[in-house]
């Protein structure tokens, strides 16, 4: 499991789904139409979602623990 993970600023997320479409691991869902959620188990921290996000509210950070 990689250490770097995508983190969504849920308050600013517009739930458009661009991140979901580019995620190579299908680690992103928008279950309630409010904001994106990242499956930390699946995320490999590639950063494609962060690049794609039109609101630029996804960051890739080194996960603690």
């Amino acid at each position: 499991m990689s250490k770097r993970k995508a983190i969504v600023n849920t308050r600013a997320c517009v739930a458009c789904g661009c991140c979901m479409k580019v995620c190579p691991k299908n680690a992103i869902t928008i279950p309630k139409g409010i904001h994106a959620e990242i499956d930390k188990e699946r995320c490999v921290g590639c950063g494609k979602c962060a690049k794609e996000c039109p609101a630029s509210i996804i960051t890739v950070e080194v996960a603690e623990s």
Binding site: A12, V14, A15, C16, G17, C18, M20, K21, P24, K25, N26, I30, P31, K32, G33, I34, K51, E52, C53, P54, A55, S56, I57
Partner: protein
């Protein structure tokens, strides 16, 4: 690993066709109501934004033009553009203009106003569009709505295209009134659901 394309990944063709049809016969503009009702129905019934997430052809068009064809600068949108003030403000503005268009349509239906065969771009510029009008079997109001609705669709496409060029390909999604509205519906729906349980 590339994701396998699904049937709905080609809906950009429908969006593009829609825009082109409006140049030939304005009455096709009525089809655009699908882009209004489908996202709303999905949000109200299913409580999600599957329309934005999967089916929105316009979003796909922007991501193709800005991504694959490299027409986008791919810069971050300015902070104010993603602020709730702007997003909700734009939603209100958009709907005010929308209702004004509906009122205009009503006046033509009622016979107090004559049909105007123009497409209004960015709520300001009246473009002559008479070549796409070949009469209607119904009231002139039917055609007036088509002109009005096509104006809304063309205006939002132009705005979306400009922000696609300047910022990220799908910048339009940040302030898209339909997106903001369906997100609000989802918020309200899930809040009500969590209160019940």
């Amino acid at each position: 690993m590339k994701q396998k394309k699904k049937w709905y990944d080609y809906l950009w063709i429908a969006s593009l066709t829609y825009l082109i049809l409006g140049f030939f016969n304005i009455l096709f503009a009525w089809l655009g109501l699908l882009c209004f009702f489908i996202p709303l129905l999905i949000a109200v019934i299913k409580g999600n934004k599957a329309y934005c997430n999967k089916y929105c052809g316009r979003g796909q068009l922007f991501s193709l033009a800005g991504g694959r064809f490299g027409l986008s600068r791919k810069k971050d949108v300015p902070g104010w553009m993603k602020s709730p003030y702007f997003r909700y403000g734009f939603l209100i503005f958009f709907f005010t203009m929308f209702f004004q268009m509906l009122w205009n349509t009503y006046l033509v239906f009622a016979g107090t106003k004559n049909l105007g065969t123009a497409v209004t771009l960015l709520w300001t510029f009246r473009l002559p569009w008479h070549w796409a009008y070949h009469g209607t079997f119904f009231s002139d109001g039917v055609a007036q709505f088509a002109f009005g609705f096509y104006s809304v669709m063309l205006t939002s496409t132009v705005l979306g295209f400009v922000t696609m060029l300047l910022f990220k390909p799908r910048s339009w999604c940040v302030y898209c009134p339909m997106g903001t509205m369906t997100q609000l519906i989802c918020k309200a729906k899930h809040k009500a659901a969590s209160r019940k349980s």
